[in-house]
Point group: C2
Chain length 734, copies 2
């Protein structure tokens, strides 16, 4: 056993938490353990708890890695495979061992990074295209160039911590056989990726730029900042200008925003230290810090809204955001960021991370101000928007999200004007996210599954209007990217929050307007959601409005024909081939309602109909021979042949089921009937409550807050002011 390995073994068995550390110091362990703990204690003892945990976690991980010895395998596997995961472990180990060396001054950590990088120096120059590449963007160490960039972003930070401990010869060898060629590969050999305005390029420019700072290579830095030709048309600075909207929204959606944010924040932090005159955190009105806060706003219960190709298990508890929060806090000292760090229960082993941990321990955290907001999309905020409406506080509050944003490039879904609802800690009106098992080899090597194209991206997989059973823009990215919705109205007025948007071009000759109102309605539990979807067209079409819900069906307001003994499929293509049909019905006026139960709360989805609307109850999972899809339920409202049409629906949450106490309250909707009237471009939705009262949502679609409007329903005058209002008609009605 070499001295390094012996030392590694003692580090690996050192305690992994602050508590364990404290115990080890008082208990009489084996001499080696005690010695290791004692050596570590002067450093560990003065750390604030969150930082101490991170320190202990890093020591445990790096200790294990050191005990296993340096393992730098010949690249072979795709995502999730052995060599892929080993190179990921290695870059984490390089970064963390470097940070541990900075904190502890323990030479074995520096030696380990040196040995690891010397092994890479042997391997790296021998590499060509990756054997598991699946497209033109092959990496060297990994199957795609993106992962090589991520490797560099991590490794260069670890290298920076130990580079001055090396002999000139070792330094020269590692510089010239690892970091320079890696930067060259990313910025020159993969120039087309490097000069894109895309998150892959952000990782690449960050890796290359930070390498440039470390090696003192100004050319490298400038190419990273300004693009290969240093014109500023590409490169990191341009990315901060084009990839985020003025509200800090990232066009690909929150899942990718979270991922993109790490190189943005980490490289910006390096720029601030090396080129302070650039005032990078003030660049474009502080766009990077705004983007960080917006990323946090795009969550419910800590989980990102799963727009586009998103993995639904991604939350704020993710490596990228540990860095982001720490860097942003060091810049701003915003106490609300501390509560996010508290929720993450993690930080990073940098001075910024130590500051976060110390201020958290000092009780400086304040709640993060989650609120209703409109986030414009597009570099100038001109490509639609994402509207977030929130009511209530805390982990069970209600949040509505309307996705009126641009296509979001190749990972975008064809879901114009789609929406989601969260309540009671759950996703109630769902978005499927991506069809992918990330890093699971048996599932197409962990890549996107075929069903991501055939189902997850299709319009019918979303809560979005489908015309003639074809996806928006016929499911084609190029025309979809040329068109963005227009946000018509937004109001965060408490008790009557509104978002309204329009899209033209999703279908030839059909304009779509969707207005979502989250309102407090007298006589109903708060809040309820009204949804008005109008298709404007002169020609006859077939219109389908799916709602992807979650829960156990409790009650249907109408009779259905059930396919109980052989289950047919809803259609042939555009995602319809993946829906089993359980039952279909054509409710009479007033009967259009479905009640389900989720985690002790009842939800009734009600739709106005005159008997001409067909309701189809289905389940995802048809034409899925590999069991790639989640078997989730949906209800689809269908109108055939109409020129234009309006779907008016209501989502009412009500009651409570407590299985432990065996108590049930208000399991049934309080609404007896719902009708929709359209008069001169105004929408009136009249609810008749079970207690006999009547109340209406009146929508003028006129953004002027002072404008007065009237409508006559069944001989009764309704008057209101502004875009939308809740109007009490009174008991009994007519």
């Amino acid at each position: 056993m070499s001295r390094l390995l012996r030392r590694a073994a003692s580090l690996a068995t050192a305690p992994v938490s602050a508590l364990a550390l404290a115990l080890a110091l008082t208990a009489s362990g084996a001499p080696l353990h005690a010695q290791a703990a004692a050596e570590a204690s002067p450093v560990g003892e003065n750390m604030p708890p969150l930082y101490a945990d991170e320190f202990a976690r890093a020591r445990a991980f790096v200790g294990e890695m050191m005990e296993a010895g340096v393992v730098v395998p010949q690249p072979r596997d795709p995502g999730g495979g052995y060599t892929h995961e080993q190179h990921k472990r290695n870059y984490r180990a390089i970064l963390l061992a470097g940070q541990l060396y900075r904190i502890t001054g323990d030479r074995p950590y520096a030696d380990y990074v040196r040995e690891m990088l010397l092994a890479y120096a042997d391997l790296y120059p021998t590499l060509g295209e990756h054997p598991a590449r699946s497209n033109q963007y092959s990496g060297r160490l990994f199957w795609q160039v993106l992962n090589d960039a991520v490797w560099l972003v991590h490794a260069v930070q670890g290298y920076a911590e130990i580079r001055d401990t090396l002999t000139a010869a070792d330094r020269e060898r590692i510089d010239s056989r690892v970091f320079r060629p890696a930067a060259h590969f990313l910025s020159v050999e993969s120039q087309s990726t490097f000069d894109r305005i895309h998150n892959h390029a952000t990782w690449a420019t960050a890796g290359v730029g930070m390498t440039g700072y470390l090696l003192g290579d100004r050319d490298m830095v400038d190419r990273a900042l300004l693009g290969s030709d240093k014109s500023g048309e590409a490169g990191f600075l341009r990315q901060t200008e084009l990839l985020f909207s003025p509200d800090g929204y990232y066009a690909e959606g929150p899942y990718y925003q979270r991922y993109a944010l790490m190189p943005f924040m980490v490289f910006a932090d390096a720029i601030a230290r090396n080129d302070p005159d650039r005032r990078i955190f003030e660049h474009r009105d502080g766009i990077l810090l705004k983007a960080l806060r917006t990323t946090v706003q795009l969550t419910y219960g800590g989980y990102f809204f799963p727009f586009n190709d998103a993995m639904k298990d991604k939350s704020l508890r993710t490596e990228e955001l540990y860095h982001g929060i720490a860097i942003a806090y060091a810049q701003t000292r915003d106490p609300a960021l501390l509560s996010i760090a508290q929720m993450q229960d993690r930080t990073v082993l940098t001075p910024a991370g130590q500051l976060v941990a110390a201020d958290l321990a000092a009780g400086r955290a304040e709640p993060f101000p989650f609120r209703s907001m409109l986030l414009r999309d597009g570099p100038q905020g001109e490509q639609g928007a994402v509207a977030i409406l929130r009511e209530g506080e805390g982990p069970r509050h209600t949040a509505l999200v309307a996705k009126n944003s641009s296509q979001g490039m190749g990972h975008g879904h064809f879901d114009k004007l789609s929406w989601q609802l969260y309540d009671n800690g759950h996703e109630i009106v769902r978005d499927y996210g991506a069809a992918r098992f990330l890093n699971i080899e048996a599932k197409q090597g962990g890549r996107y599954l075929p069903e991501n194209e055939t189902w997850a991206k299709q319009t019918v997989a979303h809560n979005a209007l489908v015309v003639d059973r074809r996806s928006h823009f016929d499911g084609k990215v190029k025309p979809a990217s040329a068109v963005a919705p227009e946000q018509l109205h937004f109001s965060d007025e408490p008790g009557l929050q509104v978002t309204s948007a329009r899209v033209d071009g999703a279908y030839t000759g059909v304009g779509i307007v969707r207005t979502l109102v989250m309102a407090d309605v007298p006589g109903l539990e708060s809040p309820v959601v009204f949804d008005l979807v109008t298709a404007e067209s002169d020609a006859p079409h077939s219109y389908d409005l799916p709602l992807h819900y979650q829960g156990a069906v409790i009650e249907l307001g109408f009779p259905v024909e059930s396919h109980v003994a052989a289950r047919p499929v809803l259609g042939e293509d555009h995602g319809y081939q993946h829906v089993w049909v359980d039952a279909t019905g054509r409710p009479d006026a007033g009967d259009g309602a479905l009640t389900w139960l989720l985690d002790g709360r009842f939800y009734t989805y009600r739709f106005a109909t005159d008997g001409a609307t067909q309701a189809i109850l289905g389940q995802v999972g048809a034409n899925d021979p590999e069991f790639n899809l989640r078997r989730e339920p949906l209800i689809l409202l269908r109108r055939e042949g109409a020129g234009g049409t309006t779907f008016a629906t209501l989502l009412e949450s009500h009651g409570r089921y407590d299985g432990a106490a065996e108590q049930t309250v208000a399991s049934r909707s309080r609404v007896a009937a719902m009708r929709h009237h359209r008069q001169g471009g105004k929408d009136i939705v009249v609810l008749t409550l079970k207690d006999g009262g009547q109340v209406a949502l009146a929508v003028s679609h006129d953004a002027d807050p002072a404008a007065r409007h009237r409508a006559t329903i069944d001989g009764q005058q309704l008057a209101w002011t502004g875009f939308a209002a809740i109007v009490e008609i009174g008991r009994g009605g007519n």
Copy 2:
């Protein structure tokens, strides 16, 4: 506003937690609030936290009830309906207001109980059969007599607290118009229920007996203790002897055990106080305390094993067990019970509850010793058993449950020798439990659904062997109740835990033996589960072995024919009509494997086959027009035509998927192939690992621990001692 109501209003708005109480005392609230809080403080301040919470919760609830005024409606609705829920709220209010009066001495609480009971005195004598009764056991206040008994058990305890505050006239009126007729209704008018050996009778005898103690009516007490004829052939004491096995197992299963336990414990507590010479808690070797501990053992993650007609959301956090734990702790001072109270985060407003809270606050809790155990079923332990095998500690430990018990009366399922597996905090191999939405009116008034008979009770709905596609005992309770399995072997030896049982009579001419082994196997992650199911028969039969799993399908080891565009149903009856068929395959030897993923952990279910076994992948939900069933997956192994057969399967848990860190480890099984050999009544299961090693499970079925056994597999000798062993064959094998 009457004085009582004013006082109620102030009580209702008083703070609901100890923390809120503390805040109210320091903040300057509205005078009324401050006054109420101040009045309450001398009492609340000295309470241990758990008891203080309970006190605050009771004050809030009773305050709300008092503010609403006394509401005693004419009985009308079934379970979940308004009058049903109101009478339930009332008995809670009577009990809690009585307890609050005892604790605080505040007269309005006593007055409220008095007013409530006087309202019942007006109503009760006017009542006949309940209008919503569904069978011969109609109640008066509720649709079934059981609920009337529950009402009495609660109400008499509340009445006991305030009875001495009443005028003689009020006392006489309430005694003679509420409690005497309620006891008479339960014990005389409903004598057939009262004299049963059944949990309904336990509630009835408890209510009647406690009423007898309160009213000083020895006849009433004796009939409750010894049955209507006081012979001891029926009544409470006989119930303690016949309803629990010597190991404290209750024949209907844990869900009903939990429910039955409350009247057992509460009445026993009353007996101990009123008839101390009976030494009720020592009766039959301390059976009641044993039953309480056994109830706790029958859980995973706090949730009861869902045997028979069980609601799966039932956990230790249930009213009945707050009473049970407090009473048992007062009797035993067993510190392990304190950790259960801690997990419940609840107790009761009795001196026993106060003791629990105080000792918990004093740090006296110790972990509850969950462990492997055999729980014999039947009054003499002669009717089979439930075997629990556990490995590991804490909320993610592994637990296997084998249900080799008796039928469990009318709520029993036809699932002889079925099993379940829990791991990583989840139910991995599932039991459906009951098909019911308890107390949800829209779902058949909250009663058992038709699918409880057609699906949930049927054999195919369980992890149990089905012969000729018919349920055990043809799905008939009477013959099923006449037969019990025989537990052949049980071992809780660490690393090699075994349960083996046999049942005859489930099918004419077919004996079934099932051996489950939870073992640590060199080369595999621990533990794995081997399952050997042998059907002994001379005549040809069709054999189906379902496994109800939970998770996302990751990998199938064999090609299947998929029903991707029209989904057929598995069969016509005995539950088969509720299974959609997704795909079928007939794996070659060595290929029988299905891998799924649940909450970051992979599971591979592997079965030995020689190519003659058909594997059917299905989903529950066919012939379910009311959407009453959960849409859960299963795999069913089928062998046709054989005389007898043995299914040998392996459940291997492996690897880890971490979505946050995007790390995946060991997503694929470590087993390359599995073969099963049967030699002279011995079973040998040989695993060939992917690293080339071979290891076997050898089962002699001979319980003699010293007996030595041999078998020859492929020319290689295996030798072992005892019932079962893991034998390493070595690398490469032959």
